[in-house]
């Protein structure tokens, strides 16, 4: 039995496709197998799957919980119904217009509020849903007021009028497409960028990912799908009223996503099936909201990952036992080290980065005082100094995380104005963090691929459709990521979620992720912390290799023998001020440095070497 599973593991993708096709085939046969009552329920599940797949992208990938998406469904439904009943336009035209208007209105809420973030955004979406509901009740001329719009025409194609059966098949097709889109998205740069931004905004920005762009994309996709499902519903049911799209509907949509398992492609299918069937089976129509409340409570309490998430949590480790053991890439040398570094060849010792008179205040604390020094291209420049001297603050200022009050930077001789983290990343400056900021939900490999987002990202359309070109670029990124992991000497599991990595490996993966952006300047904040002596030696070799490829490194580090061996130049900071810049031998034997930083014992120790 075990052997059988092991063998079939190779055909996992094929098995998935066959199972999927079989399920869809069975569902497509539905109209001829069940009566109208059940067909209606199946149709409603389809409608919810379309909307909630969009919301799943928004909630599960982007981390934005919208509690107003019924409002966007309403926009699609009313827009198409109004145009169709008033001007007699065909369903296909008005559905398209409905999607478009839904996208526009969705954008109008998203654009000013994405910056507000998390909870505020949810509050705003609640308000939006309520406002739409109220407007629909009052605006008689457009919406027909509380009575709604009735007699909405059924879709037609070449003289054929759709009935419930054919509408169901149509919805099934759209739902399958929506699910495929969600799946493709999760396996693309865009999907990874969404999850990265959700998990750690700062780290994502340091890789050049703009939060607004990716979150807006998620909002846009969900708006379009909500508008579409609204239009389809209206034209199938022939009647809509404001109460079809009230606050409760919005809550129901969120519940479907969370119950099914947010971020899981099949989550909305499971969630919608339960939410639609359960009240019917239990014959609890009157207590529907109480039932939903109870389910929500139970899910948050017992199944925080939702049904799909929890099941996957059980099954995946069991299956992974049978996974083929050798998953390491064989490609490393074949792909060549050159492709990994696109740092322009620089004349060594030419100044890459010049800092002049940098000052930084935190309230009354003067954290950086007139910091000036320059970093030569193709060298390793170390920053040392006591804890609290301002080393990390300086790194944060250089990388654009903090802005400085005074002072100027020059990169490649050009003056830089204070800018954002993602803008600095675009200039070819990459960094790691003192506390590892990996994207925990993504695998090791995906973390590295996220680093390539700004260079390699295919268009959103190509990512949703998984075009051959996008697929090729994915394969290339994967190969390059394997090569980078080989380069840094990472020997752990590459498909493991980053949340399960031991500390030292997290650091290594973070360095590889920074390298994936092909930086010309790499800022490392205590990379050797938590590494064994052997790993530090590997790191040392890696740094030398990077420098030979023209990468410039600024290194904060406390392992003094390591600093001494690897640095070309050392700058010492104390109390936010530069004590001096010079060769490692010169700086580390400076009496001020010994007193403030190394301590007496260390001097004795280094004398032994």
């Amino acid at each position: 039995m075990n052997q059988l599973i092991e063998k079939s593991f190779g055909y996992r993708t094929a098995a998935g496709w066959i199972a999927g096709l079989a399920a869809v085939g069975l569902l497509a046969a539905g109209p001829w197998m069940v009566d109208t009552y059940y067909l209606n329920l199946l149709f409603m599940i389809g409608i919810f799957v379309i909307t909630c797949t969009g919301m799943n992208i928004l909630i599960g990938y982007c981390g934005i919980v919208s509690i107003g998406h019924a409002g966007l469904m309403a926009v699609g439904a009313y827009m198409s119904s109004f145009l169709s009943t008033t001007y007699g336009l065909s369903f296909w035209t008005v559905a398209l217009i409905g999607m478009l208007v839904s996208l526009i209105i969705g954008s109008l809420i998203a654009i000013p509020t994405i910056r507000a973030g998390g909870v505020y955004l949810s509050m705003i979406t609640i308000a939006f849903g309520v406002v739409i509901h109220e407007v629909l009740i009052r605006w008689d001329g457009f919406s027909g007021g509380p009575l709604g719009i009735s007699g909405i025409a059924k879709p037609q194609v070449a003289g054929y009028t759709f009935d419930l059966k054919s509408m169901y098949i149509f919805v099934l097709a759209i739902a399958v497409i929506a699910l495929l889109i969600a799946r493709n998205l999760r396996r693309s740069s865009w999907g990874r960028a969404m999850i990265a931004t959700k998990e750690n905004e700062i780290a994502a920005a340091s890789l050049g990912i703009r939060k607004f762009t990716v979150q807006y994309a998620g909002f846009a996709i969900s708006s379009v799908l909500a508008g579409l499902s609204g239009a389809i519903y209206a034209h199938t049911n022939s009647f809509i009223s404001p109460d079809t799209y009230n606050f409760q509907t919005s809550v129901q949509l969120v519940l479907i996503v969370i119950l099914g398992g947010s971020g899981r492609v099949l989550g909305p299918v499971i969630g919608a099936a339960i939410i639609v069937f359960l009240p019917e089976v239990l014959d609890m129509e009157k207590l529907r909201m109480a039932l939903y409340g109870g389910i929500m409570f139970a899910v948050l309490f017992f199944l925080p990952k939702g049904i799909a998430g929890t099941v996957a949590g059980w099954v995946a480790p069991q299956l992974s036992r049978f996974a083929p053991k050798s998953q390491k890439a064989s490609s490393s040398t074949a792909s060549g080290e050159e492709i990994m570094f696109s740092a322009p060849a620089q004349a060594k010792d030419k100044e890459l980065l010049v800092l002049e008179g940098i000052n930084k205040y935190f309230g009354g604390l003067h954290a950086l005082k007139d910091v000036s020094f320059s970093v030569a291209a193709g060298t390793i420049h170390s920053l040392v100094g006591p804890n609290g001297a301002g080393k990390t603050t300086l790194l944060n200022v250089i990388s654009g995380l903090y802005s400085s009050e005074q002072g100027s930077f020059k990169l490649h001789g050009e003056k830089l104005v204070p800018r954002s983290l993602s803008a600095v990343a675009q200039l070819g400056i990459a960094r790691t963090f003192q506390h590892s900021r990996l994207f925990k939900e993504l695998s090791v490999l995906e973390n590295i691929m996220t680093g390539m987002t700004k260079r390699e990202r295919s268009g959103l359309g190509a990512s949703l459709l998984r075009t051959p070109k996008q697929l090729r670029s994915e394969r290339q990124m994967e190969a390059r990521s394997h090569a980078l992991l080989d380069l840094i000497g990472y020997e752990g599991d590459r498909h493991m979620p980053a949340s399960q990595l031991p500390y030292g490996h997290q650091r290594m993966v973070e360095i590889a992720r920074a390298l994936a952006t092909s930086p010309s300047l790499l800022l490392l904040d205590e990379p050797a912390a938590g590494m064994t002596a052997t790993e530090i030696e590997q790191l040392e070799n890696l740094l030398r290799k990077l420098v030979s490829h023209g990468v410039t490194v600024i290194l904060i580090e406390h392992h003094m023998d390591f600093v001494q061996r690897v640095s070309d130049t050392v700058t010492v900071l104390d109390f936010g001020r530069v004590i001096g810049t010079g060769s490692p031998e010169q700086m580390l034997s400076d009496p001020r440095v010994i007193q403030a930083y190394l301590g007496g014992e260390e001097v004795a120790a280094s004398a032994e070497h």
Binding site: S320, V384, T392, H435, G504, G530, E537, G599, H609
Partner: protein, 238 residues
């Protein structure tokens, strides 16, 4: 005081610890060395009760604590200083230290707490300077001092330290190690997980080397410092 026998821990299909035996006496410092992913942190976490062992026994003073939850174990006087400085960011330094009292808060008078604070500040004057600052504004090294002080204030019988030297300036590392030594003299048993193998073995009497979930080597510090395999893998050629 602490006795670990045949400890096994599984994460799903992965076996993180495969039968580990460790002994630790009162006032003793024992170093645990090993590469990343070897299972050192898992070992500390299972002693405290953050991770459920799948087999084996952990005894504290002869009583099994194998299946106790973390808060019960910590009430018995076990304190863990996790790696990566977990301070309460939006509380001040003093408030963070007060958290170290935990359930004992009833037994400490204000004066006693002040006395404890004085001891901490005497050891780490830096924390005194910053006593009213919120913890997240501290530098990495200061946060490490804070976490260690917080653990000290709880007066643990058994202190589990996970890489206390992480990210600290050499001069502070020396201070921290001196502090660890003093704590042991006062009778605290200390299990010290540390990548700076040289330093760890210089204050520990004995050491264990964990490799791939099992104890690969153990012995007195001086023996380990001169062991060829140790030098090759963990101590470096320098």
């Amino acid at each position: 005081m602490l006795s670990i026998k045949g400890l096994e821990v599984r994460y799903g299909a992965i076996q993180a610890l495969k039968g580990v035996d460790v002994e630790l006496g009162k006032g003793e410092i024992v170093a645990v060395i090993g590469s990343n992913g070897a299972g050192k942190t898992t070992m500390l976490q299972s002693v405290l009760g953050l991770v459920r062992p799948s087999a084996g026994v952990i005894e504290l003073d002869g009583k099994s604590i194998t299946h106790l939850s973390a808060n019960k174990t910590s009430n018995l006087g076990v304190s863990l200083v996790p790696e990566g400085r977990e301070v309460f960011g939006t509380l001040s330094v003093v408030e963070n230290l007060r958290m170290g009292l935990k359930r004992k808060i009833g037994y400490y008078s204000k004066q006693q707490f002040e006395k404890e604070l004085d001891l901490v500040f005497e050891r780490f004057p830096r924390l005194h300077e910053r006593r009213h600052q919120l913890a997240f504004t501290l530098s990495g090294g200061e946060q490490q001092m804070l976490v260690l002080s917080r653990a000290m204030i709880s007066k643990p019988k058994l202190l589990l330290l996970d890489e206390p030297s992480l990210g600290l300036a050499p001069i502070i590392v020396n201070e921290i190690f001196a502090t660890i030594g003093e704590l042991a003299k006062d009778g605290t048993a200390i299990l010290l997980v540390e990548q700076m193998a040289h330093k760890a073995l210089s204050i520990a009497k004995r050491g264990y080397v964990v490799d791939n979930g099992s104890i690969a080597l153990h012995g007195s510090s001086s023996a380990l410092l001169n062991d060829d395999r140790m030098i090759k893998a963990y101590l470096g050629a320098h």
